[in-house]
């Protein structure tokens, strides 16, 4: 099977085997005491039916259940989760095989930002020196719409290093209701790109409509099973250690239908989890495992991803924070924990705390764009275009992130030293030593033109920093590239069978 390559790395082992085992044991101890608070009667039912101790929660005014998952249940059940998860795509070469035992890293967009950063280029003249002229990219914040999501999907299709798509912007159109958000969201993505589309569900009643849409595109139920074009995200646990009814039940429905689902948890070190690595990882690990266990109790063998989104809390206001070294530590540790359980890891990198593209954003993003993938996490989300923690999305930033991820991938590539390389090297050295100029430049050419060696910073400018102008131009170029719309008859069929998709999404496809 064809698939997107991503980058195969030699994983860094931040935690020793000893430390991994300690954290695993600590998570088991958390299951025993204090346990998980569960607000879903359905989820609690699965746990008690399978032998976990479930008692009515006497705290919290008596709502929910306290669940104590026995260690042997965790051990037995977690092994039934597949270690290889397939994510399909409209184009065969865009499919992904996430294999817990192969540290191949893929980069993915993510978040559902409320703010969309629109950009314009303006000219400026120096106050003291009218000859000193500047052109700058200026940003305007506004609410995101489904048209923005369409544009983001279109650009994402053409970003070289974006391996899979999670909707980047919250669609806040007046005519799209909560109940029809999911079908609009998934259609806007699937009709504008050929990569895998993953997303959360706003309304669980829309799950079957989304699946029907994917079936029509894939060419039937059977075809969709073999090529799952869509997958889902459920934040089963709210930190600390509380299983939420709404998302647990969404996850249950997805698991029942056998679609891949991310069991994600996002504790903040210093507010909703201990700030220290040991406590943070023990807790998030327990949160994720509780969801993994539930998924397997619902359907043995349900494909799940170990969804780790650990962040640091910002001390000024207890908002989340991503440009922190601790954020990087947490995420690398989680990738190791996922590997320990044989589960593919959904991880997090590339978010800036600042609201606009620029130096701060680059520094904050680059830290995790480089370090987190070193862990060998399989599916690194949030990696494109995110600013203001995860509240703002910018296409310019996405284009920059794509370039920087490209550099990161080169950085992480495995060394190529083998008998053939040594033979070639000796040949080169001997040949060059027999020339008068002794330059190796001739032997660079093939690799230079094939793109194998680093060509230099794509937005380089020696005179002044015009990186953002370059990114702005690049966005324009990408938006001019063809949009891989679905065939017209497929679109018609979707509109017939799936209610609630706004008509302008279909017209857009027609007019191009």
């Amino acid at each position: 099977m064809h698939q997107r390559k991503g980058v195969l790395v030699r994983p860094v082992e931040r935690l020793s085997t000893e430390q991994i085992k300690m954290i695993d044991q600590a998570s088991m101890a958390i299951f025993a005491d204090p346990g998980i608070i569960c607000y879903s009667d359905i989820a609690a039912g699965y746990f008690s039916d399978n032998g976990a101790a479930v008692v009515k929660n006497s705290g919290d005014g008596g709502t929910g259940w306290i669940i104590k998952i026995p260690e042997d249940m965790v051990r037995k059940v977690v092994t039934t989760a597949p270690s290889v998860v397939y994510l399909g795509a409209r184009k065969e070469e865009n499919r992904l095989i996430l294999d817990a035992h192969e540290p191949r890293v893929r980069f993915v967009s993510g978040s559902e930002t409320n703010v969309w950063l629109e950009s314009v280029v303006r000219g400026y003249v120096g106050e003291d020196d009218p000859e000193d002229k500047l052109r700058l990219v200026r940003f305007i914040r506004r609410r995101g719409t489904v048209a923005d999501l369409t544009r983001a999907a279109h650009v994402a299709e053409h970003l070289e290093h974006l391996d899979s798509f999670i909707r980047t912007v919250n669609i806040q159109d007046e005519d799209i209701e909560e109940s029809t958000k999911d079908v609009n969201k998934f259609f806007a993505c699937l009709n504008n790109m050929t990569k895998h589309v993953m997303g959360g569900l706003t309304d669980v009643s829309q799950l079957d409509n989304v699946i029907r849409m994917a079936e029509i595109i894939a060419g039937g139920n059977e075809a969709l099973r073999g090529n799952p074009l869509v997958s889902f995200i459920a934040c089963v646990c709210k930190s600390p250690l509380q299983m939420v009814a709404d998302s647990a039940e969404k996850m249950i429905e997805v698991a029942k239908r056998g679609f891949p689902v991310v069991i994600s948890s996002s504790p903040q070190g210093g507010s909703t989890a201990p700030v220290d690595e040991a406590g943070m990882i023990a807790q998030i690990n327990a949160e994720i495992l509780s969801g993994v266990v539930l998924a397997q109790l619902v359907k043995e063998g349900a494909p799940v991803l170990y969804g780790s989104v650990p962040t640091r809390a910002r001390m000024e206001d207890l908002h989340d924070m991503y440009g922190a070294p601790e954020f990087n530590h947490y995420n690398v540790d989680c990738a190791q924990m996922a590997r320990f359980y044989g589960l593919p890891c959904y991880s997090t990198a590339g978010i800036a705390d600042t609201c606009v593209p620029g130096m701060q954003a680059t520094v904050e993003k680059l830290l995790s764009h480089i370090y987190v993938p070193m862990s060998g996490a399989h599916y690194v989300h949030y990696a494109f275009g995110l600013l203001e923690r995860t509240n703002t999305f910018s296409l310019e930033q996405a284009v920059l992130d794509d370039a920087h991820i490209g550099i990161s991938k080169r950085l992480l590539a495995e060394p190529r030293v083998g008998p053939d390389e040594i033979t070639e090297a000796l040949k080169q050295i001997r040949e060059v030593m027999s020339t008068s100029h002794r330059l190796f430049a001739r032997y660079v050419r093939k690799k230079l033109h094939s793109g194998e060696i680093y060509p230099g910073y794509p937005f380089a400018n020696d005179e002044r920093d015009e990186v953002l102008l370059g990114a702005h131009e690049r966005v324009k170029q990408l938006l001019e590239k063809p949009v891989p719309h679905l065939p017209q008859d497929v679109i018609e069929k979707i509109y017939q069978k799936v209610p609630g998709i706004v008509t302008r999404l279909k017209q857009e496809a027609k007019s191009e």
């Binding site: 008068s436 100029h437 330059l439 430049a441 001739r442 050419r445 093939k446």
Partner: protein, 229 residues
């Protein structure tokens, strides 16, 4: 191959920087096929005129490479490899150029001056000058003035290029020029200087004929000197 195809293939091989059949190119399209050295041999045997080989094969190839370089499609390694291919071809052609009564571009002696071991830039200049059709006599690095004079004299050179990368060896350029004067040879040669710390002002100060900021300027200046002879 007919004559036209031969010339065109020579040109293509220059663009790919292939001297002989063993050389790799920019891609694999010509792998294993004859390079310019073999092709020029074939062309001469097929009685293709020296002029056509030079003009429509080698120079045209080099022109295309130059254009691709300006368009940021090619890089310095591509220029160097193409120039190497041309200079390898020139070695084969040399005796025939004289016979054909064509005017060669002339002899160019180049060296890094005494006390200085930097030669990357000087080598680039040497390779590209060869590729442009000059006969280059490269004396290497750390070369005292008397060896430069001796070589210029012996080869009847029209031009001399001096390279220095250290502020401490720049004065040696002046010493060399003075030595040419003393030997009564200053009028017979044009002196070009280069290397990162040198400048137009410095060239003027020490009485050099030209300063070149890079290899392209070096070719332009050397060609204008050759043309005005």
């Amino acid at each position: 191959m007919n004559k036209d195809d031969l010339i065109k293939t020579i040109c293509d091989n220059v663009i790919q920087g292939r001297r002989t059949k063993d050389d790799e190119g920019i891609d694999d399209s010509l792998s294993g096929t004859p390079g310019v050295v073999e092709l020029v041999g074939e062309a001469l045997a097929a009685e293709v005129s020296v002029q056509s080989i030079l003009k429509e094969g080698l120079s045209r190839g080099m022109d295309i490479v130059g254009k691709k370089f300006e368009a940021n499609e090619y890089f310095i390694p591509d220029m160097l490899a193409a120039a190497e291919a041309v200079s390898a071809a020139m070695d084969v052609l040399e005796p025939h150029i004289m016979k054909a009564g064509l005017e060669p571009k002339g002899q160019f002696v180049i060296a890094t001056v005494l006390g200085d071991h930097h030669d990357i830039g000087k080598n680039i200049v040497a390779v590209l000058l060869k590729g442009a059709g000059f006969q280059v006599i490269d004396l290497g690095t750390d070369v005292p003035a008397d060896r430069i004079i001796e070589a210029a004299n012996k080869n009847n050179a029209q031009q001399v290029g001096l390279s220095a990368l250290l502020t401490t060896t720049m004065p040696e350029m002046k010493t060399t020029i003075e030595a040419f004067k003393k030997a009564g040879l200053r009028e017979k040669v044009k002196v070009l200087i280069g290397g990162a710390p040198t400048s137009k002002e410095f060239a003027k100060e020490i009485g050099a004929d030209a300063h070149c900021k890079d290899a392209f300027e070096a070719i332009a200046v050397a060609e204008s000197h050759a043309g005005s002879r």
